[in-house]
């Protein structure tokens, strides 16, 4: 099932992500959890995540040129950004999104 989870009520200026994942594959499950965590922490008010299970919609991966799973695409705001992997390295993700990384302790 390809769901859009309405996490936020104000889509204007929201961060919109699309996650291509492969069913219950370990990396995919971890990526989903990590993406939720990042969104809740950094954009609690304004984010949306589209989920595409390539095992259920395999042709979608071909048309969208998705090579590996999991892959996250940031659709909004521009410019588009592609991140591959289970997002376990949060700092890489934050740097790519142009967000301040973990406060120094």
């Amino acid at each position: 099932m390809n769901d859009t989870l309405p996490v936020s009520d104000n889509p204007n200026g929201a961060y919109v992500f699309r996650l291509y994942f492969a069913g219950g594959a370990p990396n995919s499950v971890r990526a989903l959890a990590n993406l939720y965590a990042i969104c809740r922490k950094h954009f609690p008010e304004s984010h949306r995540i589209e989920l595409i299970d390539v095992l259920k919609d395999p042709m979608r991966a071909l048309t969208d040129a998705i090579l590996v799973t999991p892959t996250v695409v940031k659709l909004s705001p521009e410019p588009a950004l592609q991140i591959i992997g289970n997002l376990s390295e949060e700092e890489e993700v934050l740097r790519a999104l142009g967000l301040p990384q973990k406060e120094s302790e």
Partner: protein
Amino acid sequence: MSDKKRAGFLEKISSGVEGFDDITAGGLPLRHTTLLMGGPGCGKTVFALQMLVSGAMRHHAPGIFVAFEERAHLVSANAETFGWDMRGLEKKKKLFFVDACMRSDVVKSGAFDLTGLLAALEAKAREMGAKLIVFDAIDVLLNLLDDPAAECRELYRLHEWLMRHELTGVLTTKIDDNAPATAQRYGFMPFMADCAVLLHQRVTDRVAVRSMRVLKYRGSPHVLNEVPFVIGPEGVEVGSSNGVHPEPQPFKDRVSTGIERLDEMLGGGFYRGTNALITASSGAGKSMLAGVFIEAACRRGERALFISFDENSHDIERDLATVSIPLAPHLASGLLRMEAVRTEAASSEEHFMRIKRLITEHHPRCVAIDPLSALARVGGGLAARAVAERLIYLCRNAGVTVLFTSLLEGFDQQLETTTLHVSTISDSWIQVTYALESGARNRALSIIKSRGSKHSNQQRELIFSDTGISLADPPSPAVEAASNHESAVSAGEESQ
């Protein structure tokens, strides 16, 4: 073919490259994985494409090409230059290109795997009934993983996936000849594949020479040696002398050498469809003998081809005119085609391709190649010899009578010192040397061998005069020992 029904018998599918099928006893292992390894520009992608096109066109095996390095549309466009109808095949759903080039600005965070791509390919393969699949530049994908354990794991995942879906897989990967580290890094790859082929491009004598070697082929015999190959206008062509067997030609019709007395010595001339080798000392008249043979063919109304290495066609024409052998009318009528080739301009393999193309285009019945020994100067002796052999087989299969000349080098005239050692496979072999007779240096012609017919064992003086080319009278049989001297004396009176 009851063998094929035996359990465990390895079925094969033609690779679309005749020479490769020869050295692997039939082509690629069906429903198994083949690995093509080699440095950049060595022809991996073209070879893989050719397999795919051949499968799709001739073996009811639709295929998928996954391009990891080059953009898929560029690969497809490149393939069109070999005359393969990629767009047509794609339209008919016999071929499908997957653009799998990773964006350069992609960010990596944590582990990932190929599950998604394989799920997509699985769906596509089912939809089009694909039997073949090429993963081009798999090393690019593995580099992305950047972790030896992950690389190995994903490659096994891929291999296992191919086996499960009974697909015939071809993986290509870059290996740097000069960096053993890369070979070591991907050392597990040939282990995983059922057939592994190493492609090379080396520079020998300043000429680039391609070769390939089948490293392993599980469950199948294969040629162990390195074999030369070229990428010509129609794709990859592998030169396997091991597998090529010329069709035996019935020795029937005779073809004139252009010299009446030489025909007599040979029992009527060369047999049609065979090859003749003329070895001669420098200046002894190789090109003249080639020319007189070609001119005679044209006079009979046969199409002919004269290929000269490193000598201008006009010079040859002029030299032959001095002995009253006119080529100009035959050039004008289109019966004769002359091609002057610069030896150094290409490798022996490329020369072979060019000669092959000329023969296909012009459809000659008689061909002269002057001198064949020029080939030995480019691309190393072994490759040149293989090329010479294939030239001979090519002509024989086409029913073309071919005359090769070769320069005799060295002092011992009894030994064949042509660099190519083709005399063992030539049907007739004529030698022209110099004989010193009473203070005169005369050309002496003898027939060393002539397959399938009796031939004269005499040595005769070869005479070039402004009225033509001829042989002196035979020496009288009574004075065998002094025969050379006799013939030399009579030669003066002979010349028509």
